[in-house]
Amino acid sequence: MLENAFVGTRRYFTLLAVLATLSAVGFLVYLKQLTFGLGITGMSRDVSWGFYIAQFTYLVGVAASAVMVVLPYYLHDYKAFGRVTILGEFLAVAAVSMCLLFIIVDLGRPDRLLNVIKYPTPNSVLFWDMIVLNGYLFLNIVCGWLVLEAERNQVPPPKWLKPLILLSIPWAPSIHTVTAFLYAGLPGRGYWLTAIMAPRFLSSAFASGPALLILLALLVRRYTKFDPGREQIQTLAKIVTYAILVNVFFFFCELFTVFYSRIPEHMDHFYYLFYGLQGKGWLVPWMWFSIVGMCIAALLMVSPRIRQNETTLALTCGLIVITTYIDKGLGLISGGFVPNPLHQVNEYIPTLPEIVITLGVWATGFLILTILYKVAVSVKEEIRA
């Protein structure tokens, strides 16, 4: 099957070349980070996690959302999704690969990475995050690949695979729950210290992931001979609709508790993000765009007319991907660290090298995604022919 990755159109190879170049540039800058230290980033004593960990958090959500195509197909026998499960699983593989890379580029001492296994520490949530992420990567590679192979050979997938597929279903929300627990159990960080963090993570994941999948499915239809299907896209759109509505609801639940209780340690982070604090607040316009955009997108998705028109659907899904990305990728980490535990405002702004390394990791992820999608689409085209 892998041989399909080595043949293709000019456009396919151009895309691979562009992604590989971006990835290589990111790697070169990463070498600089290895020798100089993480000081080339915008992180600081007060904001000790930044862009890398934010991307990681967002992408765990994208990865987890594969369950939204796997679950209806395998548990509800929703046959239509048989065509797109592979797209969801391969998206998860690419997303988890990026997550792992973002963790590695964020480490001060990547050479000591294996200490996490050499000295296993179950009271650290990071230990569990390592287990669930690697497990999820393994499950999706195995399940995705073998089901696709069986499909190509027109035989049923091996029997022993079924338990692994079923296991991958609860495993998906577990990766994002554990990731939320990285933040939600820290006593001194009011912005993160909320029981609704894991539910919020999941709702935003189940909105942004399937929204991204819709966009990818439309691209696949446009540029290949394989059509993921109108019904499939419409069902995904309904999933996105419910998830984004729940996500907006959860956000207002959070706002109520924080602002009705008026506990400063919890309120000040919201003030920083949405109004600015002590005269500082570069994220303010971003955060307003994010929440207003998310509400508008949720309302638009409710309208069947907008959802059923694939152009307006694509635009709305794009808005959802961007607004949930700002919420998690920019607001979540900065908002948690500012103000610091001493109530001082030291802002975080990513530096150019940091952004280049980040782009490099994204490019690597999309390189993996492109190759995997190429393999999947070739098999699908083969079967149809």
């Binding site: 000081g39 004593r45 000790s48 001492r109 650290s124 948690g336 109530h343 030291n346």
Partner: protein, 265 residues
């Protein structure tokens, strides 16, 4: 038939690490606390800061003593003027084991109304609180930071992977990270104490190297009596005497970390 706490803990132990971890998620620190009871007879170091004696000058002496002894780099005033940094970088790369900050920052959530105006703007000496229930230890994925039986929250800088989870976990901002090679910013390297490499976290270790030699922590020695150090489990120790005689406050006690630095105000 009920099951008492001791039996329950034994059972949790039998269930192995997974059991312990599950328990840890529900009741963080409880397992440690139950086990720690057997150590009550031993040593438990604590520090009392007498704010009546702590002038800014005394505080500066304490900081100087600690930072020169422990090879803490000075990004504010580098030894070589050519290494001078922008204000932004000075701030971002800062490494501090012990430092001062005003009451409003040191005691966030413990604000008093205007009748306590004496406290407003008063500089407090801040350092790692060597908590009984340290969140930094709970979150560390490699046990690079751990709690010694005598209460010192230690750092193994050779095991630290630089994930900085402990920095997110610490509610006192007591931890610093080596964002770059610190050595060019150390005025005079003390050969008796290690310098750090890129990419590891560091903090106050309560001068464990001096305690091993029977000496007081460097800041205590330099404080001229403003800092009182001793064994909390010894009723006759100077810290116990100070705590008996005075009203003291601690930073963020409501978080349940049980910090072991006390302030007489």
């Amino acid at each position: 038939m009920g099951i008492n706490r001791r039996d329950f803990l034994k059972l949790a132990g039998l269930l192995g690490l997974g059991g312990k971890a599950a328990f840890e998620l529900v009741l963080p620190g409880e397992v440690e606390a139950a086990v720690a009871k057997t150590e009550a007879a031993g040593t438990r170091w604590a520090l009392v800061v007498d704010m009546r004696k702590l002038t800014d000058k005394v505080a500066a002496r304490c900081i100087e003593a600690c930072h020169t002894l422990h090879n803490v780099p000075n990004f504010q005033e580098p030894p070589d003027p050519k290494l001078a940094l922008s204000e932004d970088l000075k701030n971002r790369w800062q490494i501090k084991w012990i430092w001062t900050d005003i009451y409003e920052h040191a005691f966030v959530g413990f604000e008093q109304d205007h009748k306590w105006e004496k406290l407003q703007g008063m500089n407090f000496l801040l350092l790692c609180n060597h908590c009984d229930n340290p969140p930094c230890v709970r979150v560390c994925p490699t046990k690079a930071t751990y709690r010694r039986p005598d209460g010192i929250v230690m750092m193994d800088m050779h095991r630290c992977i630089g994930c900085r989870f402990c920095m997110a976990g610490c509610p006192y901002a007591a931890r610093s990270f080596n964002w770059r090679d610190p050595r060019p910013y150390i005025a005079r390297i003390n050969p008796d104490y290690p310098t750090r490499e890129i990419g590891v976290v560091e903090k106050c270790l309560l001068c464990e190297e001096r305690l091993a030699l029977g000496q007081q922590p460097a800041c205590v020695e330099a404080s001229g009596g403003a800092l009182i150090f001793g064994n909390l489990n010894d009723a006759g120790s100077p810290v116990r005497a100070a705590l008996r005689a005075h009203y003291t406050i601690r930073r963020k006690p409501h978080l349940g970390t049980n910090p072991q630095v006390y302030y007489i105000v």
